[in-house]
Symmetry: C2
Subunit: 113 residues, 2 copies
DNA sequence: TTTATACTGAACCACATGGTTCAGTATCGC
DNA sequence: GCGATACTGAACCATGTGGTTCAGTATAAA
């Protein structure tokens, strides 16, 4: 039986439940970025934006490196795997897509080599 | 580009962010059950339990069929796939575990045949 | 018909979220 | 050193969550 870290799943799934935070993750997937540069794209105050960043940090999804007055944000995607694993338990329930999934991972593996 | 239904991901990931609701999902994965029977296992009032059920319903993860005074709950796992698909976008970021994942699905497929 | 069962709803509480503004601090560039 | 830049924190607000209790309704069973 796979072990799931409940507290991690709690925080991570809560963290990804807001479109702004998913957008931040999406942005950081392309590489680290300055907090202000990321914030710019969002129609809210910097303070509001920072709250989202803090939620992501607490979930372990974002790491912050401070250099002088600048904060660089980097994606730390590992915790996403906990939620994914939990969800994949139920994969067989929503469809008989095992074939396609297997194919998908085989292809990904090929591409990454 | 895959289309993600933002509102669905919002509600579903929020719904699975509480251990009680994940436990309900786990329970219902074995088959439909009466509301009270499921509720029994949880150390909270029936009213409190019902609130969790309502959150799951709003996320489209649980369906309720009323027969007389009894509510039968059934898992409706399809919406889980939206969150899973969103997460799998980032799968390649968190590790080079593609081999193991592929193996996992191959084995699952074997077992289910 | 009475009583027990299976919820349902309203009201309340404490706390978190998602946003704001405004004021403060720390650092960088000139 | 001065001003601009890049945050940070406190305070506030409305709303949602996660729980409670208590009272009510509807149905099934005796």
């Amino acid at each position: 039986m796979v072990q799931y870290r409940a507290a991690t799943i709690d925080r991570v799934s809560a963290a990804i439940s807001h479109p702004t935070r998913r957008a931040i993750i999406h942005r950081l997937a392309h590489g680290p970025a300055r907090l202000s540069d990321v914030a710019e794209r969002f129609p809210m105050s910097l303070t509001g934006f920072c709250k989202h960043v803090r939620v992501l940090e607490r979930a372990g999804l974002v790491r912050r490196t401070r250099r002088g007055r600048e904060n660089t944000l980097a994606l730390s995607p590992q915790p996403l795997s906990d939620v994914t694993r939990w969800l994949l338990q139920y994969e067989r329930f929503w469809t008989a897509r095992l074939d396609r999934m297997q194919e998908y991972f085989a292809k990904q593996k090929e591409n990454s080599q």
